[in-house]
Each structure stands twice: as C-alpha cells, then as structure tokens.
C-alpha cells in the first residue's frame, strides 16, 4: 500500500500527542508540565497540516507553542514553581 507510510506517521503522531498530554497531567514540577503542553500543541499543529488546513496549522503553532508557553512561564515565575501536596 502506498499510503501505509502516511498512516503509520499519523498513528505515531497521535500516540505521541496523547503521551505528552498524560505527562502534562502527571508532572509535579510546573515548568515541566508547561513544556509538555507546548509539545502537545506542536503535535496538534503537525496533525492540522495532515488534515489539509495550513492556516489553522500556522495559527496553532505560533499561538500554542510560543505565546502560551511564554505567558505560562511568566506567571510561574511570579508564583510558586512546584505543585505542593
């Protein structure tokens, strides 16, 4: 099948995205959780490209991976860094 390579790529990207989401839920250090959320946004942007939506891919990559992470890091710097028990 000539489209099996694309299917394998989509499946691996989806699994990586779900793994990153579970990591963002589990990590105790808040900076690590924010970086996992940025990874989820990046995988979602690549999946948007595979779904033939280039405008949405550009918007998600720039807003989700760059601006959201920067705003989170500024907010973490002014509050606590580690999630307490």
């Amino acid at each position: 099948m000539e489209e099996s390579l694309e299917q394998i790529l989509e499946l691996s990207l989806t699994l990586l995205m779900l793994g990153g989401a579970v990591c963002a839920c589990v990590f105790k250090d808040l900076l690590n959780a924010v970086i996992a959320a940025a990874f989820v946004s990046l995988m979602a942007a690549i999946l948007f490209y595979f779904l033939q939506a280039p405008d949405v891919a550009m918007a998600e990559a720039s807003i989700g991976a760059a601006l959201t992470t920067a705003i989170f890091v500024i907010a973490i710097k002014k509050t606590k860094r580690v999630e307490e028990e």
């Binding site: 601006l67 920067a70 907010a75």
Partner: protein, 233 residues
C-alpha cells in the same frame, strides 16, 4: 472520593462521545449538493471576492461580523488585564537584581528583531494569496517583541505608541465597515473593485482589513506580555 466520581463521569462521557462520533461520516464527500454553505463558499468565493485563499474570504467577508466580535474579545481581555493589575497604593519599584542576558543572546536579538518583524508583516500582507493572514502575522510580531524583552533590556518599548496603534487599527476596522454601509448596502460589505486574480491589490477591501487586524493583534499581544512582565511581585 473526588477522583472516583470524576473517573465514572469521564467514562460515561467518553462512551457517549464514541457512540455519537461513530455515526459521523468521516472522509466522505457529504456536501455534494450545492445548497450547503461549504460548497457555496468554494464555488462562489473566487469569482465574487477575488481572494485566492477561501478561508480568508470566509473569515473577512462572509463571516466578517464574527471577526469583529473576536477583535472585541481581545480588546476586553487587554482591558481586564490592566484593570486587575491596577493598584491604588504605591508599589515600590522592582529593583533590577536579575542578571543580564549573555553576549550571544544580546547580539542575536538585535540582529533577529527586524527580520522577525519583516516576516510577520509579509505574512499578514499576503493573507489573501497564501496561507496566513492577520492573526498569524500579528502573533509573529508579538513574539518578536517578546524576544526584545528577554534579550536587550536597555531598549525601552514605548507603551504609549503601542496603545495608540492598537486603538487606531480598531477604529479603521469599524470605519471600513461603516463605509461599506454608506457606499454599499450592508455593514462590512466589499465595496472596492475586485481586481485581477493572484495580484497583491486584489480582493477589494480584504487586504486593508487584514492589515488593520495584523497591527491590532500584534500591538495588543505585545502590550499584554509587557503588562505581565512589568508587574511588581
């Protein structure tokens, strides 16, 4: 207890979603007849508006009122941020005890800042010809200002001129809508001539609106980031 209840709730919700989505046709051409909105926009979009990017003509012309509402929501978020951080008693000045950036970062950010602003401007000017548009270009310009905050600190960003640019861009957007009401038939109507295909000055009023939106979103998000950074802890 809380974890148990939320797990049960989430299992029920996921089962419901999976059963509902199993019936949805995925990947099939279910919009064959011409009276669905998607087919109508694809068939008529290029001839009536002249923009090569159909998503741009949908966002600006066919659903232009939603874009006006979205710009208003961004404006309200910026106002809310300023209102939350306003304090009546005097806060002492944040003494700069943090270390300055390294030499590589300082040189690099001085070199990269005009290039990133140029790239962002290219993205929102060519919004109707290639993938991109006002929002994407505005966010790229805001990330260039973020780099300036992190790298070189001796260059102060003039906040007053940012607020002026943002307000002027918003007024231009609403002004174009009212001009469409005056010269055409309805609010936000495309009243300029269509122009030739695939040229920069085509699509009527679409490039002008996207340029105004690009300036507004870029100045707004840079102002939000500046307001968050300079808040004294």
């Amino acid at each position: 207890m809380r974890i148990l209840i939320s797990c049960v709730l989430l299992v029920i919700l996921s089962l419901g979603l999976v059963f509902a989505l199993e019936q949805a046709p995925f990947g099939s051409n279910q919009i064959d007849n011409a009276d669905k909105p998607g087919r109508f926009y694809l068939n008529q979009g290029m001839e009536k508006t002249g923009a090569a990017n159909v998503v741009t003509s949908v966002v600006v012309t066919y659903r232009g009122f939603d874009t006006l509402g979205e710009v208003t929501i961004l404006f309200i978020a910026a106002i809310g941020l300023g209102a939350v951080f306003h304090s009546r008693k005097k806060v002492k000045r944040y003494e700069k005890e943090k270390q300055s950036a390294s030499l590589i970062l300082q040189t690099g950010c001085r070199f990269l800042f005009p290039l990133i602003v140029l790239f962002g401007t290219y993205v929102f000017i060519h919004g109707h010809l290639s993938p991109g548009g006002g929002f994407q270009g505005g966010v790229i310009i805001a990330s260039a200002f973020l780099l300036l905050f992190l790298g070189c600190e001796e260059k102060k960003i003039p906040m007053k001129s940012m607020n002026t640019v943002e307000s002027l861009a918003g007024i231009i957007f609403v002004g174009i809508g009212l001009a469409g009401l005056y010269w055409g038939e309805s609010f936000l109507e495309n009243f300029l001539p269509r122009g030739m295909d695939y040229m920069l000055l085509s699509g009527g009023v679409i490039p002008i609106i996207y340029i105004a939106i690009g300036f507004k979103v870029g100045a707004e998000l840079a102002g939000i980031v500046a307001g968050l950074i300079e808040r004294n802890p």
